[in-house]
């Protein structure tokens, strides 16, 4: 896929060069003049696969309205996106986690800006005959995913589910085989909310117990759950819905069991502290109606754009993502930015210097 993107970019840019320069041939008419006079601009992004579905829909809608702009978004993971932007291989990066402070100096293009674009839920999806509704507290979830609890009728699970008849089925834990921002955010929730029960730390790669199962990507984990009785795993909501999985309601910081919906996810985004640079974590947000395993993703760009036409296109596209493009989100099972956060992001657009 990446190869295709690179190839198409190369083809397009070479086509552009071959076009005869329109307008005055006085010699001063260079390539940028041609493009600003109606030629095509191509901007490239890469990174987070979590926001890829949104990027694809947004690109389709945006380029339909702006036929002179072409946008490519390749996945590859948040880490790849950050690296590509640092090396200035792409014009923008998608990432579910920010740069580490120590790495900021390696960014070749100087100061960067973070634009939050959406919020999403990580579900606790399961496959258990006869149990359509399941409630889980973070303490119990930590014990399950760490294999301290091995049967579905364990007293800890029963305590979370008064009145529900739980079978004595063995629990099968499914997790990601590949390094993933979803794993990082999910384990951050277990770490923060699990009341000290979680011992495996938070990260993109985790030392899971040996008697667990691993699948590639969200869809790989969903596939294990679908095909295994007694399985439970963490899957982002759009993949969980696409695979028709049941998922648990999860106990939030206020002690309420909340179902992941666009509203409860947006509510999590409203109950958080946002820094001046628009960095925040929506994990375990306060508020009665917040879904606790909510995570976020950013588009990252350089504040100083070197190419006038590309810079303008990038700015317009990000503006679209955080304003009109937000309407595309519910259909993709993502939640839009809450109003205060959206306002801050729109205000930050002025910091992109074209």
């Amino acid at each position: 896929m990446t190869w295709l993107a690179i190839l198409s970019v190369a083809l397009i840019s070479s086509c552009k060069k071959n076009q005869p320069a329109t307008g005055g041939g006085s010699g001063s008419a260079s390539a940028p003049m041609v493009t600003s006079g109606g030629g095509a601009v191509t901007i490239n992004g890469s990174g987070s696969t979590f926001q890829k579905a949104f990027q694809e829909s947004a690109i389709e809608a945006f380029t339909k309205a702006n036929p002179n702009i072409k946008i490519n978004y390749g996945g590859g993971g948040s880490g790849k996106g950050r690296q590509d932007l640092a090396d200035m291989v792409v014009d923008f990066a998608g990432a579910d986690a920010p740069y580490k402070d120590a790495d900021l100096a390696k960014n070749k293009g100087g100061e960067i800006l973070y634009f939050p674009i959406l919020l999403g839920a990580i579900t606790l999806s399961y496959n258990l005959d006869g149990v359509d509704k399941l409630q889980l507290s973070p303490e119990t979830a930590a014990k399950i995913f760490q294999r301290d609890i091995k049967k579905w009728n364990d007293p800890a699970i029963a305590a979370d589910n008064p009145g529900v008849k739980l079978p004595a089925t063995d629990i099968v834990v499914a997790h990601r085989a590949d390094g993933s921002g979803t794993t990082e955010n999910f384990t951050a929730w277990l770490d923060q909310a699990g009341g000290g029960n979680w011992k495996l730390k938070s990260g993109a790669t985790v030392e899971w117990p040996a008697d667990t199962q691993a699948g590639q990507g969200n869809s790989g984990v969903a596939q294990i759950i679908t095909s295994t009785k007694g399985a439970i795993g963490y899957v982002d909501q759009s993949d969980a819905k696409a695979s028709g999985l049941h998922y648990a309601t999860v106990k939030n910081a206020a002690g309420k069991y909340i179902e992941p919906t666009a509203d409860s996810v947006s509510a999590a985004g409203a109950g958080i502290d946002v820094k001046d640079n628009l960095l925040f974590s929506a994990i375990n947000a306060k508020g009665d109606t917040s879904y606790p395993i909510t995570y976020q993703t950013w588009v990252i760009v350089y504040a100083k754009q070197t190419d006038k036409d590309k810079g303008a296109a990038v700015k317009n596209y990000i503006k679209y993502l955080i304003t009109d493009g937000q309407k595309l989100l519910p259909e993709l099972d993502f939640a839009p930015l809450p109003k205060p956060l959206q306002d801050k992001a729109v205000a930050q657009l002025d910091k992109i210097q074209v």
Binding site: G76, G77, S78, G79, K80, K100, D103, A177, D178, G179, S180, G181, E184, K201, S202, G203, A204, T205, V206, E207, W208, A210, D211, T212, Q213, A214, Q216, Q223, S227
Partner: protein, 289 residues
């Protein structure tokens, strides 16, 4: 005179062209080795070379990188693969060359060669959907070993077939003329003649099995720190862990994955060198006696 000058010119040009091609390959190999080792240095300094190779814990969160479980997984799955593939490959090769009626040979050879061109990701997905679910093998060393066995069988078979076919016809006929059965003929004439070549064929299959990435990454289970002889437990291999963790790895973690790649590079080269030595020695011995 003129013609000869032209010929000499073409000859020289051709000579340099092939020398260039040959040295380019060596240069690329050297460049890969040097640049990869350079990028592996941070983790080797952080862990120490010996610690990196023999330590069992791989924990990016704690900045601890021990490659032993992945080395084990690579060797273990390759060993399972070879154990399954060798009897099948040799059986097919002997059947095709010694037993099968002439008109059966081409179709069998053709189907075996076809198996060799199936992309590995197809085997991997089949392993996930069928072996791990319908046959309840889970995602484990065993599943990976079986998939690898299917992948290396055509390679070993096709090499073994060629090696066996080089057995001189008169030796085979001599054996049969002395009243040997087919089995005795194979044991007495074919086997001593082709032993070295067959070991080479198996070693090449082994090399392929150790380097296979995507099919193994899909079915091995991606469990960290597993060093066990229990074939049905999930594990990990060097190429699989590189493919799985590269996307979200930070600096030191990346360096550790590159160090794994260098290690894999060294191990596969060592296996091939040993294979070559065995083949050469057995050829020399059969000529000497």
């Amino acid at each position: 005179m003129d013609l000869r000058g032209k010929r000499a010119y073409a000859d020289t040009a051709f000579r340099w062209l092939v020398i260039g091609a040959a040295s380019l390959v060596l240069l690329i190999l050297a460049y890969i080795a040097v640049s990869m080792t350079g990028r592996a240095l941070p983790v080797l300094q952080h862990m120490g070379v010996l610690e990196f190779i023999k330590s069992k814990r791989w924990s990016p969160a704690d900045q601890l990188f021990g490659a032993l479980p992945f080395i084990w997984g690579t060797l273990f799955t390759a060993a399972i693969a070879v154990a399954i593939a060798v009897p099948i490959s040799l059986g097919v090769a002997l059947f095709v060359t010694q037993i099968a009626p002439r008109r059966w040979r081409m179709p069998i050879v053709y189907v075996m060669d076809l198996l060799a061109v199936v992309p590995s990701v197809v085997f991997g997905l089949w392993g996930v959907m069928v072996l791990s679910q319908h046959f309840h093998l889970g995602r484990s060393f065993m599943t990976a070993g079986i998939i690898l066995a299917i992948m290396i069988t055509p390679i070993i078979t096709s090499l073994a077939r060629e090696v066996i076919e080089t057995t001189p016809q008169n030796e085979k006929e001599a054996a049969l003329a002395l009243g040997a059965t087919k089995w005795e003929m194979i044991k007495g004439a074919v086997w001593p003649h082709s032993k070295g070549g067959l070991v080479g064929a198996v070693m090449l299959g082994l090399g392929r099995a150790m380097g296979e990435t995507i099919a193994v990454a899909l079915v091995i289970g991606s469990s960290l720190g597993q060093i066990t002889l229990h074939a049905l437990s999930p594990g990990n291999s060097m190429p699989a862990v590189i493919a799985n963790e590269w996307g979200e790895a930070d600096d030191l973690h990346k360096s550790a994955l590159i160090a794994l790649a260098v290690l894999l590079f060294v191990i596969t080269i060592a296996v091939n060198l040993v294979a070559n030595a065995i083949v050469q020695r057995s050829i020399a011995r059969s000529r000497g006696k």
